[in-house]
């Protein structure tokens, strides 16, 4: 079957879940880009929605579909196709593909609710386990040759981490501006690192007003800098700036926050690095740097009254029933 060739046949897929930033009522848009397992839709209001194959994890602005085995978006949809969503049914013009969003539960993630304390020994152990798993996965990913641009991005992440550790806002803003757009891949390595890094900051920011203020300002700078990268990357950066990341990365953060077993941490890392070609790997790298940025810092849980502390882990990445 060729792209659009199924126009008269029509394919109706059910949504398994929809990220809480994914609109599901009335909107109009156009297919921005299509891959085998994902399809990006640029909405008329400038926002992005991503359709994801069933085997992929949720995304804040994503809709996971009950795709049949062997289904490939790029065999049905082409960039430029019109898209409309009416009465809970999303239709992709010319392709005959429609998605029923009406019964899809909402997947919600908010890492700022984790209130992870990186200085807790159990959390430190979990972070270490994650770093080891990441290093292993890098070995499996093969030699790092021809990754000059990615290496630049790593250097820029180091600068960002150092500025963050010192609460040097101006330097951190400059570093994140230089980081975004740097590197290889559809979502440049620097963008993936920034997504992970700010996610890591949000995991720990909830435990300290000072961290929360710093993270918020850095997130705002990141949103501004996101203008310099492509639209797909920009969507992930802007959601991450508010503590909303893709499910595999969120699950890894939760596993670390809850000091899961080493095996569980390794499994979570493996799932997270499997996203994309290098994106998952870079995002995990960024996350671990973000989680560690204030591991020895002065942020204090005592600064926040017990009564308003949010429960750690619970409700960070959760599924809500449709229309719930």
């Amino acid at each position: 079957m060729t792209a659009g060739g199924s126009g008269s046949a029509g394919i109706r897929l059910n949504a398994l879940s929809a990220g809480h930033r994914a609109p599901r009522d009335r909107f109009t848009g156009v297919v921005h880009s299509v891959f085998r397992r994902a399809c990006n839709i640029e909405r008329e209001d400038g926002g992005m929605l991503v359709l994801l194959a069933a085997e992929l994890g949720n995304a804040p602005h994503g809709v996971r579909l009950e795709t049949p085995a062997g289904f490939a978006f790029d065999r049905h949809i082409a960039a430029g196709h019109g898209v409309g969503c009416r009465a809970g049914v999303l239709r992709v013009g010319r392709s005959g593909l429609s998605v029923d969003l009406r019964d899809a539960p909402t997947w919600r993630v908010d890492l700022s609710r984790l209130c992870l304390d990186s200085r807790q020994p159990a959390v430190a152990v979990a972070r270490r386990a994650a770093r080891q798993a990441l290093a292993r996965s890098r070995d499996r990913a093969g030699p790092a040759g021809r990754r000059t641009l990615a290496e630049f991005a790593h250097e820029r992440l180091d600068l960002l981490a150092a500025a963050t550790e010192a609460y040097a806002e101006q330097e951190a803003e400059t570093a994140v501006q230089r980081l975004i757009g740097t590197g290889v891949g559809l979502t440049p390595s620097g963008d993936d690192l920034a997504v992970g890094f700010v996610a890591g900051l949000w995991c720990t920011a909830g435990s300290s007003p000072r961290r929360a203020v710093f993270a918020a300002r850095l997130a705002a700078a990141m949103c501004r800098a996101a203008r310099t990268t492509n639209a797909i990357s920009r969507a992930y950066l802007r959601h991450a700036a508010h503590g909303h990341v893709c499910e595999p990365l969120a699950e890894l953060a939760v596993a670390i926050a809850s000091a899961a077993t080493e095996d569980a941490i390794h499994a979570a890392v493996d799932r997270a690095v499997a996203v994309g070609s290098s994106s998952g790997h870079e995002a995990v790298r960024g996350l671990l740097r973000g989680l560690g940025a204030w591991a020895a810092g002065s942020g204090s849980m005592a600064a926040i009254p017990e009564s308003i502390r949010r429960p750690a882990v619970k409700g960070v990445g959760a599924m809500e029933p449709a229309h719930g």
Partner: protein, 530 residues
């Protein structure tokens, strides 16, 4: 060592594909290094620093940038290889275009082909129309129901469903709308602006939107309700929804409502909503006493022309005024009237637009007394035979009794041309009043056929030693397919005195008849004196 760059606009390939491309190009003998990356500012700066790209290239972050160094010959081969690899995957498809060629045979297919659509225009025989409209509503589409002969119960149910689901049903029997600048049904190509209209009358809506256009303002949205919407049973659902929608619409600054007088309780509800709209609302309940419509925020209008004039003034931030008819027009009518014979005392109004006919009946009855019609205001003034005029007569040739088995007179001018000639042969006829409606769906060149009929009628009258006064108005815009200026010029050339609006044309006719009656009285008095 040579270098080669290529920017491919708006091309997205996943990271695996980009890495595979880079690896494949690098493996080509003679290529030193190759990279396919997104052309972000950061990447460009680094590549420029390394001397791999020029600083003055101007890609966007959505572009794919291929950068290579190596032997010149190898680079050419590699670039060709890159083109081949990229063209083999994921480019816009031709197959998609093939599917587009299959005309949709259902609302579902239409929506599949055009998923961004938010409105379905339904024009099936009335017995099927409600079912199709329900289908469209259930798919989340607003509906314009052009069809007539839809059961009242279905209309009520459709509008209730639409209300409960945040949608709107225009119709049934909704012939005119302009949504987001797109004329639907019988509508005109008006310029866009900040005046929003909701109307239970198709030609009423055309008149107001065309005058707004003529007087330099524009239309944000023009919503038709269908003729029964303001009846008590339907409750004015669409008009109320339309007012609310326009009140919320940031593009709309002034709202204009057009209808025959609604049921009293519905009028009250409409005016209450209008009062709270938060923007000025011009109300023309044609034939209603303007004083009875007075409310804060509500600007009553007596005629369609008044409605357009007040709306334009409010839109432009000016004080609404009622100017006198243009002197040149009055003089032209007077000059034409001077040639009338004493026995020519009656008017014949031959309309294609139902609301124009109704408005003319109201104004002429006020000015001249009883006016006979096939759709009379007073049952005592009903024509015994709609095909034969009696004294002052005004008829709507678009009414069912004339259009059975024939096209509507806006589309086919034959019936009107015949009637013009018949009226011309009546020695008591002084004035023939016409409307000419332009726009989408209307006759492609009405001036040609109506102008010919007017000239022929004038010749007939002349042969009988008489003269006829033809007065009319053209409802259209410069951007209409027929072209307002051209149509008006040709009608004038044929001898029709043209006013900007139907109401003004009616006033001119009344003036001509009054003048002839005065002349007759004066001549009669002079005769007696002799």
């Amino acid at each position: 060592m040579a270098r080669a760059n290529r920017i491919i606009r708006n091309l997205y390939r996943d990271s695996v594909a980009l890495m595979q491309l880079s690896a494949r190009l690098s493996a080509i003998s003679g290529v030193e290094q190759a990279s396919a990356v997104m052309a972000t500012e950061a990447n460009l700066a680094l590549l420029a620093e390394a001397g791999l790209v020029d600083r003055d290239i101007d890609p966007s972050p959505s572009d794919l940038l291929i950068v290579m160094t190596g032997d010149e010959e190898a680079l050419a081969a590699a670039m060709s290889e890159a083109d081949g690899m990229l063209s083999r995957t994921g480019r816009s498809d031709e197959a998609g275009d093939r599917s587009q060629r299959i005309p949709p045979r259902s609302i579902q297919m239409g929506l599949d082909a055009l998923p961004e659509a938010n409105l379905a225009l339904i024009s099936t025989p009335g017995e099927y129309a409600a079912a199709e409209a329900f289908k469209a509503l259930r798919m989340g589409l607003n509906v314009m129901l052009f069809s007539d002969n839809v059961d009242l119960a279905d209309e009520i149910a459709l509008k209730a469903y639409a209300r409960d689901n945040g949608l709107i049903v225009m119709g049934p029997d909704c012939g005119t709308a302009i949504i987001d600048g797109i004329p639907l049904g019988f509508a005109n190509a008006v310029q866009r602006g900040d005046i929003g209209c909701v109307a239970a009358s198709g030609t009423g809506l055309q008149q107001v939107t065309c005058l707004v256009d003529r007087w330099g303002a524009g239309i944000s949205q023009a919503i038709g309700t269908g003729g029964r919407d303001l009846k008590a049973a339907v409750g004015g659902e669409t008009m109320l929804r339309g007012i609310t929608a326009l009140a919320e619409d940031r593009e709309t600054a002034v709202i204009t409502l057009i209808s025959k007088p609604p049921a009293a309780e519905i009028a009250e509800r409409v005016l209450e909503v209008a009062e709270r709209a938060g923007k000025p609302v011009v109300v023309n309940f044609i034939g209603a006493d303007p004083a009875a419509l007075e409310r804060p925020n509500v600007h009553p209008a007596r005629t369609l022309e008044d409605a357009a004039r007040i709306a334009v003034a409010l839109s432009l931030g000016e004080r609404p005024t009622t100017p006198d008819p243009p002197a040149a027009l009055v003089e032209a009518a007077a000059a034409s009237a001077a040639d009338l014979a004493p026995g020519q005392i009656y008017l014949r109004g031959l309309f294609s637009g139902g609301t124009f006919c109704y408005e003319a009946l109201l104004l002429l009855t006020e000015a001249l007394g009883p006016v006979f019609s096939s759709t009379p205001l007073d049952p005592d003034c009903a024509l015994a035979d709609p095909w034969r005029s009696h004294r002052h007569t005004v008829i709507d040739l678009g009414d069912d009794q004339f259009t059975r088995g024939r096209p509507h007179p806006m589309i086919d001018t034959t019936l009107r041309a015949e009637r013009i000639l018949r009226e011309a042969s009546d020695p008591e006829v002084a004035v023939i009043l016409l409307d000419v409606v332009l726009g989408f769906g209307a006759h492609a060149d009405p001036a040609d056929e109506i102008g010919s009929a007017v000239e022929e009628a004038q010749s007939l009258a002349k042969a009988a030693g008489r003269h006829l006064v033809f007065v009319g108005s053209v409802c259209g815009t410069a951007a209409d397919p027929q072209g307002l200026a051209d149509q008006e010029a040709r009608l004038r050339k044929a001898g029709v005195i043209l006013a900007d609006s139907n109401a003004l044309a009616v006033r001119l006719c009344a003036g001509v008849l009054a003048r002839n009656a005065d002349g007759k009285a004066a001549r009669s008095a002079a005769g007696k004196a002799r």
